[in-house]
């Protein structure tokens, strides 16, 4: 390890340009965004007066607008529903296809196809499907189907429903919470945004084909001998899945969680084309707010503050994964 061998010199020289570029265009700009979030830059002309955490404090305030708090609630709602939806649906589809059904190739393509569509298109399609209609126009889209099938009680306002499900402040549990100083948990910001369910349905439709493909590859990678052995040992089919297959494809589940998770934190185009910010920001997401603040409001400092928080959320998800995967690589 002493001195520079010729090989080493060449490898450093080859890596250096990309290192420099990444240092400037990724980490340099992250640093600049972080710096901008601490300034008073609120018009086109840069203004680097230092204001500390003022921009962050504003995001978490309810006056003049509680938009960011709504966004956080929607982001969590969306992420949870979307992850549960796509992973379970993807797994079920993969298991069904793994049974070597006739025309497997066709089904595989059908299920994978939505992934090839842009989120903008998905958004427009699902806006039409879930557009609720009104008493004057009659039911539209999926509400009309429900009506025709005699399932009228399922008709719903979908993404135009402004309310959220949360702990009521007047319920006995809510009163108890505010007694012990946790009254904040009874606000509408800690809950499930009902309108966001519609967006999660659209996103699940789009991405469950992708998880299906991942799971299908993983299932095919499990040697038949394993199943045979389990069967010989007297395991029933459900037991084989629970005890053998699911544990064996756990790494795939983890990758799917990470990939889908960071998509859902950054989701933007689907919301823009499908619902917009929604009634009282019931479907708004941080990325959309960031874009509006920065490029419509020219409030670059505020936009940068949202960007920093978004980066933080994604990092919370990705960094543990990266750490664990590099560790396991080293072990190998």
């Amino acid at each position: 390890m002493k001195g520079l061998t010729r090989d080493r010199a060449i490898s450093v020289a080859l890596v250096a340009p990309s290192l420099i570029l990444i240092a400037i265009f990724v980490y340099g700009f992250i640093g600049f965004t972080g710096f901008a979030s601490l300034t008073k830059w609120d018009s086109l002309e840069p203004n680097f007066t230092f204001v500390g955490l003022h921009n962050f404090a504003r995001l978490f305030a309810t006056v003049p607008t509680d938009r960011f708090l709504c966004d956080l609630r929607n982001m969590v709602t969306f992420t949870v529903l979307f992850l549960i939806g796509s992973i379970s649906l993807g797994f079920i589809l993969a298991v069904l296809l793994d049974r070597h059904v006739k025309g497997e190739g066709i089904f595989r393509n059908i299920f994978l196809f939505p992934m090839a569509i842009s989120y903008i298109v998905t958004g427009v399609i699902w806006r039409w499907i879930l557009g609720p209609g009104s008493p004057e126009t009659g039911a539209l889209g999926i509400n009309l189907i429900f009506e025709k099938l005699g399932l009228g009680f399922l008709k719903w306002k979908w993404f135009t429903e402004p309310s959220s499900v949360h702990i009521s402040a007047t319920s006995s549990f809510g009163v108890f919470l505010s007694h012990i100083g946790l009254g904040g948990l009874t606000t509408s910001y800690v809950g499930l945004s009902l309108a966001t369910i519609s967006v999660a349905i659209a996103a699940t439709w789009q991405m469950s084909g992708y998880t299906m493909a991942m799971y299908l590859a993983a299932l095919r990678g499990i040697p038949t001998e394993m199943r045979e052995a389990a069967r010989v040992d007297g395991a029933s089919e459900p037991q084989i899945y629970r005890r053998v297959i699911v544990p064996m494809i756990r790494p795939v589940t983890l990758s799917a969680l990470i990939v889908l998770g960071h998509i859902s934190l950054k989701i933007f185009d689907l919301v823009v084309s499908m619902t917009g910010p929604g009634p009282a920001f019931a479907t708004d997401v941080p990325a959309f707010y960031m874009w509006e603040t920065t490029f419509r409001g020219n409030n670059f400092a505020q936009g940068a503050a949202i960007a920093v928080l978004l980066l933080l959320f994604v990092a919370l998800l990705i960094v543990p994964y990266l750490v664990s995967s590099t560790r396991s690589e080293v072990r190998r």
Partner: protein
């Protein structure tokens, strides 16, 4: 191998050529670079008509049409700011008349146009309210080409006639009409709120109506307090009004709401700007009438103008361009195509369709106020917060909370 070499060489050639072209751009020439976000449809054609007039008078000048597409010029403004601050300005650029000029730091970057106003007699042909709106720090910074109007109550003539109703001119009348329509199972007001700014737009027209033009203008300069009880009155009017709209408004844009409810006679009214007129014409629909939003007659306007930066490469060409923009011929050629009215008061009305003719009449007689949601009354940072507060209010209807938030937004943005 040879093939690859040839293709690499080809790429290098193309790159070199484009560099050379860029380099040529900086040379001495007789050019006019016009920077705008008018790319398609009527506005693109209107701009071309202006170019045509300019070219006839100055045939030796080569016009460079530098457009940056994007709604309401958001992308264009970002590009323009870097060009101005970077010392590579275009010869003339598009600017919303009103407070938008503030963000370009006019005393540093723009050319005052007071002499041009005098020599062309522009200060005599524009209405006085517009002139005072155009002035910033005592100077004119842009020449307006067109005027749009934001506070129009569009109504369905057939529905009004069948129910023997008159278009309302006061809020009392409005709510009476609204009650009569509801009894007939007709939606009083068609509303689309998907894009998030529509409640803010509607509220702006209500504010003007309830507070009157001067107090409304004062809201944006600090002369009127947002804690004024009349602001609460206006919020209450808006709340009552939005309670009787189509229930699926969050799923629709304004044109969607018109298509779904207005032209199918399921709804009777809509409050929107006069771009609605162009939409009606594109649908070959003629059953609409219009009236100012109830209350005193005020013209809630927004205007596109052109400004010239200091250090424009071809200053003389740019000044000639502004002359064309401000001229009677220029405004008469541009506006019928764009679907707006001329800022000048002396253009022949027979060139315009019936709606625009009536708007031209109002333009000369009514007090003029700047539209906030369309960027003429306050800076964008304030406008986005205002828009968000109203979007929340439209759903939650908490008057006290909304007023407090509006007051907070005002003190954030007025204390500089």
């Amino acid at each position: 191998m040879v093939k690859r070499l040839v293709s690499v060489f080809g790429i290098a050639l193309v790159l070199g050529a484009s560099l050379a072209l860029v380099a040529c751009g900086g040379g001495k020439s007789n050019k006019l670079e016009i920077f705008s976000w008018w790319t398609v449809g009527g506005e693109g054609e209107g701009l071309k008509a202006l170019f045509g007039i300019y070219q006839k008078q100055y045939p030796n000048v080569q016009i460079v049409n530098a457009t940056v597409a994007g709604g309401a010029g958001t992308n264009a403004k970002a590009v323009l700011a870097t060009r101005l601050t970077g010392g590579k300005p275009p010869d003339a650029f598009q600017l919303h008349a009103g407070l938008e000029v503030e963000k370009y730091d006019p005393e540093k970057y723009l050319l005052p146009l007071d002499d041009l106003y005098k020599s062309e007699g522009l200060d005599k042909v524009f209405p006085a309210d517009l002139l005072s709106l155009l002035q910033y720090k005592g100077h004119y910074w842009g020449v307006p080409v067109n005027i749009h109007r934001a506070n129009i109550l569009w109504y369905n003539k057939k529905v009004f006639a069948e129910n023997k109703l008159q278009p309302p001119t006061t809020w009392d009348e409005y709510f009476k009409v609204s009650k009569a329509l509801k009894a007939k199972k007709i939606i009083p007001l068609a509303f689309g709120s998907k894009d998030g700014y529509e409640a803010g737009h509607t509220f702006e027209t209500v504010l003007i109506s309830v507070l009157g033009p001067d107090a409304y203008k004062g809201l944006w300069t600090g002369a009127t307090k947002w804690t004024d009880p009349k602001v609460a009155d206006a919020l209450n009017v808006l709340k009552k009004m939005l309670a009787d709209t189509n229930s699926d408004n969050a799923a629709l844009t304004w044109d969607g709401a018109l298509a779904q409810y207005f032209i199918t006679d399921k709804a009777a009214m809509m409050i929107m700007g006069d771009w609605v007129n162009g939409w009606f014409m594109s649908q070959n629909y003629t059953g609409y009438g219009w009236e100012c939003v109830p209350g005193p007659k005020v013209y809630d306007g927004l205007s596109d103008s052109f400004a010239v930066p200091k250090g424009a490469p071809d200053m003389q060409n740019a000044m000639n361009w502004l002359k064309v923009c401000g001229s009677k011929d220029g405004q008469a050629a541009f506006n019928p195509l764009k679907g707006s009215i001329p800022a000048r008061t002396d253009v022949d009305p027979s060139l315009f369709n019936p709606y625009l003719q009536s708007a031209m009449k109002d333009w000369t007689s009514e007090p003029i106020v700047p539209s906030v949601i369309h960027g003429a009354a306050a800076k964008e940072k304030w406008v986005t917060v205002y828009k968000d507060i109203l979007a929340t209010f439209a759903t939650k209807g908490d008057v006290a909370a909304a007023q407090k938030a509006l007051d907070q937004a005002a003190s954030d943005n007025l204390a500089m």
